[in-house]
Amino acid sequence: MTELWQQILSGLGTGFIYASLALAICLVFQGTGAVNFAQGVMATASAYLAWSLVSNGMDFWLALVLVLAASFVLGALIERVFIRPVEGSSPLVMLTVTVALLIGLQAVVALIWGDDPQQLGSPFGGGSVEVLGARLTAQQLGAAAVVLVTLLLAGAFFRFTTLGLRMRAAAQNPASARLLSIDVGRMLALGWGLAATVGAVAGVIFAPTLGVSPAMMDSSLLLALAAATLGGFESRVGAVVGGLVLGVAANLASRYIPGIGSDLQLVVPFAVIFLVLLLRPQGLFGRASSVRA
């Protein structure tokens, strides 16, 4: 029982990586209709940036703040430079652009920082905490807490602020939004910036666990895509919950199902998605569109 509890908790821990990347993917999808395959490598770049700063003697938290700001700018810049030319194109064209970004950015990261994996020390120290009978490292707990706060802040931003409302409006019906004096281009860039920031939080805060390398986010990206599918691309809450569910499911499966191993661990999330989508095609939290025919 304690063992199971332990596995669930540590699954939740990794689930937060997928949850935040999935949220980032959702934000971009809602804004520009693009499934951003480059979201993971953008977070990797943020992690490398933090590693550079910290290994040059900067305090971790200060570095985090700077990296988040830089990631925001970088995300918005990517939208302005690379996405703007294809704004309003088909999802297929958008997807190909983000694939090109993935290929290009991954190479650029490797050119700047090299292929060798690097280590980033945990800002939470090496201690561990007991939670209801399960033992969690301070890193696991701290990282989860930071991501949780980020997700809540992002949710509150969209739910309660007028800027958030404007961004949602611009995402949904750009033509109408313009007629209501909303600068749609700026909103989309903001959306990408915000998504990059959310992804950067995950990249930096989990870097001590994942290790810093060009491929550090690869499998997380795939799980995040799966999570976004599970939650329904339209639902931000769904993406987050989807990420957590997949984190737990993957962890439990590799522990309790014989023969899964790390190479086939990805079976589990997709099996989960498969089942869920067969029952609820719109995803866990997606709404069947209520738009009239």
Partner: protein, 245 residues
């Protein structure tokens, strides 16, 4: 004082010329109709003003040349536009749709949102009743009401309304046109109204322009146009003779 002035405005979509040198003016606080058949250029004229189609010529708003401006910049000058096909945010609630409208208003009017919202609810009670509902769940006609309400809440100086009668029950259309008239007086709101149904429009507006093939072919006060059978016959159809079946 002239609020809106179009001089020699030409516009084209995908190589198809829709406006061939449009000239018209709207004075502050005036209600003006654009009449004419399908494809005469009414919608394009409204779009030329709000910056949602690229134009040649000159569009002056309160003396300022806004030709070629992005739509959101024109909107900031106090131009509201109820587009053809409603353009509601279907996944947002009715309330959120209205809030977005109110956010578009000038800063000095921000304090009056509550009263104005009450006025809008008075006009369209269904919007209060459904305020938590997704806009997409409304019927076609209800969405049209929402689009008009949203634009009004922006407290524009110039409101462009494209075919308010589209998909609306006759009683509702009459009610909307009357309400626009009242608001126009209370809020110093100028209205440019594109409408197929000339009789209905001429009953409420001050003046009207008759368009054909992207040009103005006749204009005058509502009373003049109501009397002018030549114009009626040539461009608007003899609607007074609409007889009981």
């Amino acid at each position: 004082m002239t609020l809106l002035q179009l001089t020699g405005v030409r516009a084209a979509y995908d190589g198809v010329q829709a406006l061939h040198g449009m000239d018209l003016a709207v004075t502050e606080g005036e209600m003006v109709a654009l009449l004419g058949a399908n494809g005469a250029g009414k919608t394009t004229t409204l779009r030329a003003v709000s910056g949602t189609v690229s134009v040649e010529g000159a569009v002056l708003l309160d003396g300022q040349d806004v030709t070629g401006w992005a739509a959101h910049r024109v909107a900031r000058l106090g131009v509201g536009h109820v587009p053809e096909g409603r353009g509601t945010f279907v996944d947002l609630t009715v309330e959120e749709n209205l809030t977005l409208g109110a956010l578009a208003r000038a800063k000095r009017l921000r304090g009056q949102v509550k009263e104005d919202l009450a006025a809008v609810h008075e006009l369209f009670p269904i919007l209060r009743e459904f305020s938590r509902r997704q806009a997409g769940a409304l019927s076609g006609g209800q969405q049209q009401m929402l689009a008009i309400a949203r634009a009004i809440l922006g407290r524009p100086r110039l409101l462009l309304v494209d075919e308010p009668s589209l998909g609306l029950a006759p009683m509702v259309t009459t009610e909307i046109l009357r309400s626009l008239r009242v608001l126009q007086a209370e809020w110093q709101l100028a209205v440019l109204l594109a409408e197929q149904n000339a009789r209905r429009a001429l009953a409420v507006v001050d003046r009207a322009y008759v368009l054909e093939s992207g040009r103005v072919v006749a204009s005058g006060s509502a009373a003049e146009l109501r009397e002018n059978t030549a114009v009626q016959d040539a461009y608007l159809g003899a609607e007074q003779t609409g007889r009981p079946a």
